[in-house]
Assembly symmetry: C2
Homo-oligomer: 392 residues x 2
């Protein structure tokens, strides 16, 4: 296998660059587009999943004693074929550019491939693969000034519990010690958590690159999970199939799970004050943005759209659109950014929705990500499109 792969690979990058995935940040490279190469999230030199030159993906899985092995790509299962050596193989159709979750089904049990890095998604751990995008240089790790990604814990009085957050500070934050910065609060989707905008979204690299080109103002980004339950509140029940299915939630529990009222209190009363106390922030609505993807768009509506005194910039990625009647105080909104992947159902009406907002006197921008679905490439591109419009 190596004899076939090496000549192709060595034209694109050195061997040292492909053999050890390092937590998903380092090894994505838009120059790999059109080459055959191991998935960059593979661990310890594993050669499979292998990304083919045309964006198909070849999976191998070692399960000599299994009766049936499937690979689920973004929640759709495909049968693998068993070889005489006990290795099951499958080569997919060409995949959309960017990051995709996958997992294995071994005799119907949903499991994670231990040879590939694991990421949160679909309310359980998943594996990931990455199709390089020749136009994906905006999220490559480049030789430009880099901000910091800082992992912090803070205590929320609202729920009497510690919270885990990721904070991006832009290049220069540490040295320009008299400068204060605007803050962008960025929300994940359903079944995800505070890690994803860093690990799959590549938020820090997208902003490093935009700031280096002078296309975006330097600002702080805060990433947190919206999962937040007061003592006595019952969170949604697990759906990860490896775990024992719990009793289905009753309707009260379901409403609670999607209300985000508790998270609104956590964010407004605990998290934003913590950020303002521990980082050099600008503490006014015109210096505060919030955006979310999918379920995170509901969180953005509940928290930020509802509090125009606190947030002037809003982003809605793959979560419908906003109508003028949804906006409590038009005079205070600086921007409503709305996006979809072109393969998503809501994409067609988005431009009209933005026009309607504009006619009502609200600055609105719509964006449709070409040839992508309800997945990370749509959201990386949405961040890249929205960031230059912030805090102007």
């Amino acid at each position: 296998m190596k004899r076939i792969l090496l000549p192709v690979l060595l034209t694109a990058l050195s061997l040292s660059e492909i053999c050890f995935a390092q937590t998903g940040q380092v090894l994505i490279n838009s120059n790999l587009a059109g080459t055959v190469h191991p998935n960059p999230y593979n661990l310890y030199g594993a050669q499979f999943p292998r990304i083919e030159a045309d964006g198909r993906v070849t999976f191998h899985f070692n399960a000599p004693d299994a009766k049936k092995v499937q690979v689920a790509i973004a929640n759709v299962a495909f049968d693998m074929t068993k070889g005489e050596d006990g290795i099951w193989t499958y080569t997919s159709e060409p995949q959309d550019k960017g990051y995709h979750n996958y997992w294995m089904l071994v005799d119907s049990a949903i499991v994670v491939d231990p040879a590939t890095n694991a990421f949160i998604g679909y309310s359980h751990m998943c594996n990931g693969f990455e199709i390089p995008d020749p136009d994906g240089g905006f999220y490559d790790l480049k030789d430009v000034p880099h901000g910091n990604v800082i992992i912090k814990n803070y205590f929320s009085k609202t729920i009497s519990a510690w919270r885990h957050i990721y904070v991006y500070t832009p290049p220069g934050y540490e040295t320009n010690t008299s400068t204060r910065y605007p803050v962008f609060y960025l929300q994940h989707g359903g079944g995800e958590d505070e890690r994803v905008w860093f690990e799959m979204g590549r938020t820090n690299l997208i902003l490093d690159n935009l700031i280096a080109e002078g296309k975006a103002k330097p600002f702080i980004v805060v990433m947190e999970t919206s999962a937040a339950y007061k003592p006595g509140e019952v969170p949604p029940q697990p759906r990860a199939a490896g775990a024992r299915p719990a009793t289905p939630p009753d309707s009260t529990q379901r409403r609670r799970a999607f209300s985000f009222d508790t998270y609104k209190d956590v964010m407004l009363n605990d998290m934003i004050p913590f950020i303002d106390a521990n980082f050099r922030t600008l503490k006014n609505a015109n210096s505060r943005a919030m955006a979310g993807l999918s379920m995170g768009t509901f969180v953005t509506r509940v928290v930020a759209l509802a509090t125009p005194d606190k947030f002037a910039y809003l982003g809605i990625f793959s979560g419908g659109s906003i109508a003028p009647t949804d906006v409590p105080d038009k005079s205070k909104v600086k921007l409503i950014f709305m996006s979809f992947g072109s393969r998503e159902r809501g994409a067609d009406g988005l431009k009209d929705a933005a026009e309607t907002l504009k006619k009502a006197g609200i600055n609105a921008v719509s964006y449709v990500s070409p040839l992508t679905a309800h997945e990370w490439q749509s959201w990386r591109r949405s961040l890249y499109q929205m960031a230059p419009l912030l805090f102007k």
Copy 2:
């Protein structure tokens, strides 16, 4: 299940604290010792693995179509029993206190349980569970001043590749902007990477707590993987069983994999200069320490023991001992700290090895972690014992 568990749990902590694992940092709590509770790394409210009051662990796994399901705890497989509902169960013997890797074997295929957070270990992703330690408060997340954990990327000229590192800066680092700090370089074991001293080792919390009690000086910690290969060098081959087994490495490859000569160049020529340029460090041997666990002790020998002009403090956790003849310049060594878990083979001779070093005029300290093996509780305790001895 909840009816049985809740009264027990509510005596120890509120429900909100147990239901959502957040990247492994938040929910470990020494107060849980002696209670029945879900493993804190479970995702989305999954109830299993469940930690029993006496330290046994009950595993559930949903695999109705599998012929055989096992759970491997620290690389030893135990048969699970299938119930009529298709759920396989197993309750272990009482486990040692602290963190343990586990994974599942579904019809002999090594896989990861998607309902529990995943961690790197054994050269592949693993699941983890945690047995609370009533004396483990030293790594609890507490209401004390917290340092930052910063994720950085830097480019290594030695190997022409980007590198991914975790840097801990102590409380006060951001505000005491004229203070410079010593640096502790901390190495993982075989089959692990730069994440583990943060995710399982809880380095930041151990140091936050020690510094708050005035027991350790504030210092910076840098965590990186020793995996580093120049263009053309062949890294060790994958052993993760989910992946296709590669051709076994020849003896040249094996020697390279364990030589660490390339990593020595990376660290001395690229990484330490990067740290010294980007953090307010003290740039002398008496302000530099290095320690590693298991395979990381070899890295520590190759890099730090061999360069007394660069490092005055050395730690060897679960990786043999150091003899006076191993020390190139006794006058420059400030400390050699050596430790083992009491269940490890080398534990018995460690005190004598330290005495021999002391007789040769070298300040040596030995530590044996009670009732622990070649696992994380030995290394958390080793860090806790060594940190107060540094930079005095």
